[in-house]
């Protein structure tokens, strides 16, 4: 159980580190828009198959 004396202070350091990361991410506005990035990742440069109903060639 001696390991507790090392592990517990270490966990405190980890927590402090996470708080710093959180502070940075809040400050840099990463929580301002929680929806956009979810869409943005789907909209990179690859072109998906078209779903538009007007794609079928028009019949006159």
């Amino acid at each position: 159980m001696e390991s507790l004396y090392l592990l517990i202070p270490m966990s405190l350091v980890v927590v402090a580190f996470i708080v710093l990361i959180l502070y940075w991410s809040v400050k840099s506005g990463q929580f301002e828009d929680l929806e956009g990035p979810a869409h943005a990742i789907l909209m990179d440069d690859d072109v998906p198959e078209s779903k538009s109903p007007s794609d079928s060639v028009k019949k006159q």
Partner: protein, 825 residues
């Protein structure tokens, strides 16, 4: 008469760009990526060509199919319109841009915040972002999907603000720069601070729980030194949670105690902070003395849960739009000034540069930017947003024109008489701000109980302490604290917010955006419903109801074809209604012998044809069925006399009757309050079955009407849409603004109706009633839990893990119960 009868459109296919119906044999087509595409209009064709030309054709695959149609683009490759060029004026540029703080571009680039309009889906955001990024000189574009605001950084030496705005208009959207107000900055800071506090509390909770695990499981090989180490580590993590995360609660509790004498009520924060503070104190004492348990895990969890609920609430609340921002949106930023009146040399200038005495030209379709008097001829203005009057108002020379009204028919000249804060619309905005301050806050259910709860809790803890002091003095302190912790104000304080959040989620999906937290709770409490007419109960857009007195030998299609040919290009609401009906029936336009001439305020003529009121047409007024008594009648004649009479009627909004019936069934008294003339209001009141109605009401009258009802102790629920409704919406206990209406009205409202149908409101009423029931159940549950837990704690039987489980279970029960509200009826 060679007019085709009513043929239904035979083509199933739709416009490639907007998805709208294609006219038969559309002339607009283009080969895009090797496939022929067809379009409904030149605008759609141009947009699609631009999008493809820039290699952005993935838009068509990504967008939600058939979203609706952006406005026609303002032409391509053309000149930047003067209205936009005015934004490059140093005065306006300073207002809307700031220097970039970024090191790389410092001192060189400007940053501006744009509000994007007509954004419908993620693909629209993507398109705008890509389109703007490709403009040379633009260094960065960030678009927030939720707030629809774009932050654009650009190099002013390469590209101008007007060019950026024009680029957005080119693809059919609309952008206007706005000044991020002080309020917005404060809101952002508040949001980030609360998020940080929540994060710290969450981390603290997780860690402290981990350290508390050995005490939960009763690990037997744990030495005293070990528990001391775990205890002090927990303590070290609890300190920031109590001081930093829960800090604002302590402040609020202190305010609540200090103002107790005036209000006679204690806020929810008082029992909450009392429990936190006492538990922390007791935990620290027992750590030092080494006896009994500490409650650090309970404290951190409690704080984290509460902050979580508050964060959700804050986000909803901040969606509200500020009054100043809304006013800015209501009026144009630029205007056309005549430099050498009575000459006609004009220049586009920012409205802020106007001074009293300037002469301005207002084109048809534009909004009047300042108050003034009419100089030229006659004008027809739509003042419906300001006064509630549903029909265009005819103005003659030297009549007063109000900022915010819409010029419909012809270009006019006006002399400026009042600008900025002196205008009528600014006066209404000031009344709105006053009303917002004076708004009565409905006392929530939980707050009413909180006071009693505190008293009950304190006396229970005190009593326990005293009894134990005589029984076993060494445990008196510990047991008294256990009573406070175990009683857990957690379930009680979560009871209302959880139900609120769930109910808000449900109505948002129905199309009602709640911007002030208490709205859902208040709906069910309202006693009187005050409705506006134009734009709220009715759409405010006339629709062709019937064609009467058609001369023998002519069909409905024939006369519509003639009338539409004459009305083509007119902006008058009645003209639009006739054109729309003709388009709906796919009637081909009649070939007129001469181009139609428009006589302002009277009607149109083309050769022997005349279209307008009965005097203009030179025929006797006809008798109409009772159903059309309130209708606007348009007469059409040719050389041989009357051809037909078109009856146009304002449309009741979808679901209006059901909504009024639902409200009446709930025992809510319904009033109709409108700025329209008495007779029209009376007719509509009768139509909807409303007994109480007032016509010709000014914004001030409406405000006083609400004030009077409130003085009688009534709880008012108001629904409106116009600028003239803004003050009374703000004054009412609970108010809903109709989404399509004036931004200023939305600034005063608690909720914004984004759906077209009023049916949403009847559903919201049902949800609100249900929310009230669930809140009551939650409070009762919290009460029962306390009744069970407190005696056990009083007997000194509660240890940390029982307290922890009890707290989680009671909070979970409350949250799950509230979750039931998410189901839309």
């Amino acid at each position: 008469m060679n007019v085709s009868p009513e043929i239904p459109p035979t083509i199933e296919d739709n416009c490639y760009h907007c998805g709208g119906e294609l006219p038969i044999h559309t002339p607009y087509s283009a080969d895009l990526k090797g496939r022929p595409r067809y379009f409904c209009c030149a605008g759609c064709l141009a947009i699609a060509q631009t999008i493809h030309g820039q290699g952005l054709d993935a838009f068509y695959a990504r967008r939600v199919p058939l979203g609706g149609k952006p406005d026609d683009p303002k032409g391509f490759g053309g000149e930047i319109p003067d209205q936009l060029l005015a934004y490059d004026d140093p005065l306006l540029l300073d207002r809307f841009t700031r220097l970039v703080a970024n090191r790389e571009y410092q001192g060189r680039c400007l940053e501006t915040t744009l509000r994007l309009e007509k954004i419908r889906c993620a693909a629209c955001v993507w398109l705008n972002e890509q389109h703007l990024k490709r403009i040379p000189g633009v260094t960065d574009v960030q678009i927030n999907y939720v707030t629809q605001r774009a932050t654009v950084q650009f190099d002013p030496e390469v590209v101008t603000l007007s060019k950026i705005l024009y680029a957005v208009e080119q693809i059919g959207y609309e952008a206007w720069p706005f000044e991020p107000s002080m309020a917005a900055d404060i809101a952002k800071k508040e949001r980030r601070q609360l998020l940080m506090r929540l994060g710290v509390a969450m981390l603290g909770m997780m860690q402290v729980m981990m350290y508390a695990w050995p005490t939960y499981t009763g690990a037997e090989d744990l030495l005293v030194e070990h528990s001391l180490l775990l205890g002090w580590t927990s303590w070290a993590l609890t300190v920031p949670v109590v001081i930093y995360s829960a800090g604002p609660m302590f402040v609020a509790a202190w305010h609540s105690i200090r103002s107790f004498r005036q209000t006679g009520m204690l806020g929810m924060d008082v029992p909450v902070t009392l429990a936190v503070a006492l538990a922390f104190l007791a935990g620290t004492i027992s750590l030092v003395t080494g006896v009994s348990q500490s409650y650090f895990d309970s404290i951190t969890m409690f704080v984290a849960f509460l902050l979580g609920a508050r964060y959700v609430e804050l986000l909803a609340r901040q969606d509200a739009q500020g009054g100043a921002e809304a006013l800015a949106k209501q009026l144009p930023a630029t205007c056309e000034r005549i430099e050498n009146y009575p000459g006609d040399q004009s220049k586009s200038i920012p409205v802020v540069r106007c001074v009293v005495g300037d002469v301005l030209r207002i084109s048809p379709g534009e909004i009047i930017p300042v108050d003034g008097e009419l100089l030229s001829g006659q004008a027809s203005l739509d003042e419906s947003l300001l006064t509630g009057e549903s029909r265009p108002v005819a103005k003659k020379v030297s009549d007063v024109l109000y900022a915010g009204s819409h010029n419909i028919v012809s270009p006019i000249l006006m002399r400026v008489t009042a600008i900025g804060q002196a205008t009528r619309i600014a006066g209404i905005a000031a009344l709105l701000d006053k009303a917002l301050q004076a708004k009565p806050r409905l006392v929530g259910l939980a707050e009413k109980w909180a006071g009693y709860f505190v008293v009950f809790l304190m006396s229970a803890a005190l009593l326990t302490g005293i009894v134990w002091f005589y029984w076993d003095a060494s445990r008196a302190w510990e047991v008294a604290v256990a009573v406070l912790v175990a009683s857990c104000p957690c379930a009680l304080s979560l009871a209302t917010p959880a139900a609120m959040a769930a109910a808000q989620g449900a109505v948002t999906r129905l199309g009602l955006l709640v911007v002030r937290g208490h709205a859902m709770e208040a709906l069910a409490q309202s006693t009187d419903l005050v409705l506006d007419k134009t734009g709220t109960l009715t759409t405010g857009r006339p629709e062709l109801k019937d064609v009467l007195h058609i001369r023998d030998g002519f069909t409905k299609a024939d006369v519509l074809s003639i009338a539409s040919a004459m009305e083509l290009g007119q902006k008058h609401p009645l003209a639009l209604a006739i054109l729309e009906a003709t388009e709906r029936l796919s009637i081909k336009l009649f070939n007129l012998p001469e181009a139609p001439i428009s006589e302002l305020g009277k009607g149109l003529k083309s050769g022997e044809y005349r279209l307008g009121n009965c005097r203009w047409a030179g025929v006797d007024a006809v008798a109409v069925p009772q159903a059309y008594e309130q209708a606007s009648l348009v007469y059409l004649r040719d050389g041989n006399g009357l051809l037909a009479v078109f009856a146009l009627l304002d449309q009741p909004r979808d679901g209006a009757k059901e909504f009024i019936t639902a409200a009446k069934k709930k025992g809510i008294h319904v009033h109709l309050l409108s700025g329209d003339d008495e007779a029209t209001v009376a007719w509509w009141a009768h139509y909807f079955g409303i007994k109480d109605f007032v016509g010709g009401a000014l914004p001030e009258d409406k405000y006083e009407f609400i004030e009077k009802l409130q003085a009688e102790g009534k709880t008012i629920w108001a629904v409106g849409d116009g600028v003239n409704d803004a003050p009374f919406l703000a004054k009412a206990d609970i108010s809903i603004a109709v989404g399509g209406g004036a931004p200023l009205a939305q600034a005063g409202a608690d909720a914004v109706l984004t759906s077209e149908s009023l049916k949403t409101l009847s559903q919201a009423l049902v949800i609100s009633t249900k929310a009230k029931v669930i809140m009551r159940q939650n409070l009762i549950w919290a009460f029962i839990y306390n009744v069970l837990a407190i005696p056990v704690a009083m007997m000194g039987l509660v240890n940390p893990w029982i307290a922890g489980i009890g707290m989680s279970l009671s909070s979970l029960a409350v949250t799950l119960n509230a979750w039931r509200l998410r189901k839309v009826p």
